[in-house]
């Protein structure tokens, strides 16, 4: 009898030990699983809808507000609003001067990065925003991302943009910033990367480039306020640099006119959208050809608020 009782006591003690080991192990595992990684971006982007328009970064899950984290994370079971797999969204750690005229007839815009060496030789590198080539815009010093808007009827969508920096040193750079919204076309819901990236913009008029504060200039620009600055600076407004025998401002290979719909603070920024899912591609960059262009924005976080509403 005594032996039986002892045996039972042993079995009970071993069972309690096993139970406590299981609970402790799973709790400790859960404790490790609690830690989440957070992406820290150089740009804080907020996209909001003012009329219940729904957006997506992946054509599957729809919401009325998105942040830069949604575009830099890939959609998964824990990243419901993340970008579609194999996307070409680009959020560089540093924005550097680039230039684009936003020509989008049958193609995505091309961006140029230019520099002058000690001998005065101008060199430039081209970033082609074409998913199918190796010279894609991923890796360039400008922001680019795909955004999808879902509508039930034909609508004219209007958008607006607020830009500011969180530290004063780079505030002047705002005067040379550009935001472009390229209306690309209709895609299916829950589309994959191949279908999403196969369509291209059709007309230049489907692209709107917005220049913030285009008639206000920084002191070091040497240009009076009230004179509009565009992607192609006027020769009389800029200090000149010699490139061989040519002044840089007349080096036409590096400068183009704005080749899309151009918008300022006072002009409406709109595009027409059909029922269904419309893909737009958004670019945000520091325009190197702007007389207000400062050197790269480093060490500051730029805040960009994009809002969309229906006219």
């Amino acid at each position: 009898m005594k032996k039986t009782l002892k045996k039972r006591a042993f079995i009970s003690a071993i069972a309690m030990l096993i139970v406590s080991a299981i609970v402790l192990t799973s709790s400790t595992f859960a404790w490790f699983a609690m830690a989440t990684q957070v992406n820290v971006d150089s740009m804080e982007l907020n996209i909001t809808s003012l009329d219940g328009i729904v957006f997506s970064a992946n054509t599957t899950n729809w919401t009325t507000s998105l942040t830069s984290a949604d575009f830099t994370n890939v959609q998964s079971s824990t990243q419901r609003y993340g970008a579609y797999a194999d996307n070409h969204n680009n959020f560089p750690s540093k924005l550097a001067p680039v230039s684009s005229s936003c020509f989008t007839r049958g193609q995505y815009p091309t961006f140029y990065v230019a520099s002058i060496d000690d001998k005065g030789i101008l060199t430039s590198k081209k970033f082609t925003s074409d998913y199918s080539t190796t010279a894609s815009d991923v890796g360039g010093a400008f922001v680019a991302f795909d955004l999808f808007i879902k509508l039930a009827t034909n609508e004219t969508v209007t958008w607006n943009c607020n830009l500011n920096v969180n530290e004063g040193d780079a505030e002047d750079a705002l005067y040379a910033m550009r935001v472009a919204v390229v209306k690309v076309g209709i895609v299916a819901e829950k589309a994959d990367a191949a279908d999403i990236q196969a369509i291209k913009p059709k007309e230049n008029s489907d692209t709107t480039m917005f220049e913030i504060n285009n008639k206000k200039h920084i002191a070091t620009a040497g240009v009076a306020n009230g004179v509009a600055a565009t992607t192609k600076p006027l020769a009389a407004e800029l200090p000149s640099y010699n490139v061989g025998t040519e002044h840089i401002v007349t080096y036409v290979g590096a400068i183009r006119d704005v080749d899309c719909t151009y918008a300022t603070d006072t002009t409406a920024k709109t595009f027409a959208a059909a029922p269904g899912v419309t893909k737009i591609r958004v670019y945000i960059w520091l325009e190197g050809q702007d007389c207000d262009c400062e050197s790269a924005i480093a060490g500051s976080i730029m805040n960009c608020g994009l809002s969309f509403s229906i006219v």
């Binding site: 030990l17 859960a30 907020n46 919401t63 942040t67 419901r80």
Partner: protein, 239 residues
């Protein structure tokens, strides 16, 4: 008296241990289900508690709730079942303490529902009971995660009292934090595990000591009986 005290202490510690184990299992289940959930929120049998972070729903009425409270919600499987007056938890972009905008959860009451021309829900317009003004950003159907149990408007037009536990939100938040979970769950469980090992070893040693004791006693008895037998036979020879 001492034994009585020990047994009361034993009962209290057993009860505390059971509570800790239940909480540990619940939080562990919630952590694992959140990792596999499409919505990123954990649940136990479909129910999710949320700790309230602000007073936007504290209108002073019983139907509201305040910062630090715990509300009990159930996952919304079909947004078409939602009605004006329901209190829903949804994914939203909010400003954190450092002024950065991050994705989080917010809980407000449905004030109105916007429909598309073909009759499907386009968005929900929400409002905090204490705010009194509609929220600027409307909520997409995909953003809605859960509904507070028993919330809504009754047939008389009065707000119903949704399920909540007053002031328990702060405690649960602490328990769900890495520090709180470590201090209140993992450390006691680890101590209990070590205590169980100690008890098992002590039982084993005690049983072994008892066996040795039994063996010694048995040998002593055998020797005594053998001596007795020897003496008896010696006496018989002498006679």
């Amino acid at each position: 008296m001492e034994n009585k005290g020990k047994s009361i202490l034993g009962v209290i510690s057993d009860i505390l241990l059971i509570i800790i184990i239940i909480i540990a299992i619940s939080i562990t289940v919630m952590t694992f289900t959140s990792k596999n959930s499409d919505l990123g929120i954990g649940n136990v049998l479909g129910y999710t508690p949320f700790a309230v972070q602000s007073n936007s729903m504290d209108s002073g009425e019983k139907s509201g709730f305040a910062e630090g409270d715990l509300i009990i919600t159930k996952e919304v499987k079909n947004v078409n079942d939602l009605k004006i007056g329901d209190v829903v938890t949804y994914s939203a972009v909010l400003a954190n303490n450092e002024g950065k905008t991050v994705r989080g959860y917010n809980t407000h009451r449905i004030y109105d529902i916007r429909y598309t021309p073909n009759g499907t829900i386009q968005s929900f317009i929400t409002m905090g009971d204490a705010v009194g003004v509609e929220d600027t950003i409307e909520i997409a159907p995909d953003d809605v995660l859960a509904k507070q149990i028993n919330s809504g408007i009754d047939e008389n037009g009065n707000k119903m009292n949704g399920m909540k536990i007053v002031n328990f939100g702060t405690a649960l938040e602490f328990l769900q934090s890495r520090t709180g979970f470590m201090v209140c769950i993992i450390v006691p469980l680890a101590l209990f595990f070590i205590w169980q090992i100690y008890k098992l070893i002590a039982m084993f040693l005690e049983a072994k000591a008892e066996d040795i004791d039994e063996e010694t006693k048995r040998k002593a008895i055998e020797e005594y009986l053998a001596k007795q037998a020897e003496q008896k036979s010696g006496d018989a020879e002498t006679k």
